[in-house]
């Protein structure tokens, strides 16, 4: 399973922050939020569109 690239260039800075997280840890903890549009990845609260 690989990390899908963020399609939108304006999120480059955010992507850099995510890439700084160790790859092994990245997939350790994914929590489905109560809201359909949000997901929590290793403590980061993200929009679903951030990781699609």
């Amino acid at each position: 399973m690989t990390l899908a690239k963020l399609r939108i260039p304006t999120r480059r800075r955010f992507l850099q922050a995510l890439l700084a997280i160790p790859a092994v840890a990245f997939f350790r903890n994914i929590r489905q939020s109560e809201s359909d549009d949000m997901v929590e990845v290793d403590g980061w609260i993200l929009k679903r569109s951030d990781i699609l």
Binding site: R13, F14, A17, A20, S33, G43, W44, I45, L46, D50
Partner: protein
């Protein structure tokens, strides 16, 4: 008038109508308000006009439960009280902080914010504040709000000259009240301890206890024990329902739209949840603070700007190796309201006493599951709305998510001592009534944050001064009317 001890005061022949115990923000404010009503008062201060180790020693005590500040470090015992180390941050409790909530047991005050609003102009004069700015909605459930970071007023310094020349206020330094005497209907005198020895008994028509959010409980507990219930006849809640504002760094944030809200001169920005979302989630009040400049200094800022954009984790690792502290994200800090619990309480030590023979404090204080829940749910709520509005992204620290122990080395709490003599219409659930009068006692009142029924999320000083003005006003009218 300022007297250096009880002997000097006794020789003056001054006859006060009101005896105010404690010359901190609350005590000084009540005394000044009584002057306006033409009512003379004596203002007893256990300490000197400056810090001394001897005076501070009386504040030693222990905390049982969660780690807390040393009790002789979290408060100050000299003229001006704890205003002498106050940071100056100001905000008044919000309207809904006064209202009962069916999801927080024992919440609700017998007064409303409207009962202290008439005093806000005076509060601003006393604390040298600008006008409070309105909150601004930023997301669906969070408002930006201003914390006025004022130049902190040291009450003993600001009002020194006024107290010195006043003919209506007699400040007596180096003089503590070791015990109030009472007969279950009224206080009949205050036993004094001055310069290391008993100093007689002072009499007045009315007494105001304003020794701070820990010491008020201590004095009343001891006085009540010594008088066999004669000072606080309804003592079920005396010392109980004690609250702090826990404060911890709970995560990080990347802000991608800094134009959406105002960041203050220190690089901080504060957000407050709506009462509706708090009710929906069953949460006490809290605030989220983003510290956008967790590092200080032009050089660090430049390095951070260069390196954080490229590889944030590397930049932080390198800086740590160099012995510097560099953080590439904004740091998230939360402070929150604790639910009022009976078991969080001020108790008298069974074994330890100070030089005046008064038992020292044992503070029983423990955070619980609600404290953990407000952190985690608060962060999730805020983070989701922050992302949804494209303001940035929030990261919740591991220890908040996995329920690990509260970390060492963080701020821990606000040095805000609230409750212990809380307000309630029910004498079983409170020590004082809506006028800060001790239930069942005709002439005993309490000033300061110990009367807080609940704590809200904001710093208490502004509300303390508001309540003290209201108390002084009430006393003035009561005494003048009689």
């Amino acid at each position: 008038m300022i007297f250096q001890d009880a002997a000097a005061y006794a020789a003056s022949g001054f006859h006060p109508k009101v005896c105010i115990i404690g010359a901190g923000p609350a005590g000084i404010t009540v005394a000044r308000k009584l002057v306006a009503a033409g009512i003379p008062s004596v203002l007893l201060e256990a300490g000197s006009n400056e810090w001394t180790e001897e005076s501070q020693e009386a504040y030693k005590g222990v905390t049982i439960g969660d780690p807390y500040f040393d009790l002789d470090a979290t408060r100050l015992r000299y003229l001006g009280g704890s205003s002498n180390h106050w940071a100056g941050w100001c905000r008044v409790l919000d309207s809904y902080d006064f209202e009962p909530k069916d999801y927080i047991r024992n919440s609700g005050w017998p007064i409303r914010r409207g009962d202290i609003e008439p005093y806000f102009n005076e509060v601003r004069d006393i604390l040298d504040l600008t006008a409070f700015r309105p909150d601004i909605p930023v997301t669906e459930s969070f408002n930006w709000f201003e914390v006025i970071k004022s130049d902190p007023v040291r009450f003993g310094e600001k009002f020194a000259t006024e107290l010195e020349v006043s003919k209506s206020i007699a400040v007596v330094l180096n003089t503590e009240v070791s015990e109030l005497k009472g007969d279950g209907r009224s206080v009949t005198g205050a036993k004094l301890w001055s310069r290391g020895a008993p100093a007689g008994v002072i009499d007045a028509r009315y007494f105001v206890v304003a020794t701070g959010g820990l010491e008020n409980s201590r004095l009343l507990l001891w006085s009540n024990e010594r008088s066999n219930g004669g000072v606080v006849p309804n003592a079920a809640s005396l010392g109980r329902y004690w609250m702090e504002h826990p404060m911890y760094w709970t995560g990080d944030a990347l802000i991608t739209n800094q134009d959406a809200f105002e960041i203050d001169r220190d690089g901080d920005v504060f957000f407050l949840p709506s009462p509706e979302v708090l009710a929906r989630r069953g949460l006490p009040n809290f605030h989220v603070e983003l510290e956008t400049l967790p590092f200080k200094g032009a050089v660090k800022a430049f390095i951070a700007g260069m390196s954080c954009a490229a590889a944030p984790e590397t930049a932080e690792w390198v800086s740590k190796k160099l012995g510097q502290r560099l953080q590439c994200t904004s740091r998230v800090r939360m402070a929150w309201e604790q639910a009022p619990h009976e078991h969080n309480r001020v108790v008298l030590s069974a074994t330890e006493r100070d030089a005046a023979g008064v038992p020292r404090i044992e503070l029983h204080w423990k955070k619980d599951e609600l404290d953990r829940r407000v952190m985690l749910e608060g962060m999730r709520l805020f983070g989701e709305e922050f992302a949804r509005k494209e303001l940035g992204r929030v990261h919740i620290s591991d220890w908040v998510r996995d329920g690990s122990d509260y970390p060492d080395g963080m701020e821990l709490a606000g040095n805000h001592h609230m409750g212990g003599t809380r307000m309630s219409n029910d004498p079983r659930l409170g020590v004082v009534d809506r006028n800060c009068q001790v239930h069942g006692m005709s002439n005993l009142f309490v000033g300061g944050s110990s009367v807080f029924s609940t704590s809200g999320q904001c710093t208490p000083t502004t509300t303390i001064v508001s309540l003290a003005l209201r108390l002084g006003d009430h006393l003035g009218r009561t005494i003048s009317g009689s």
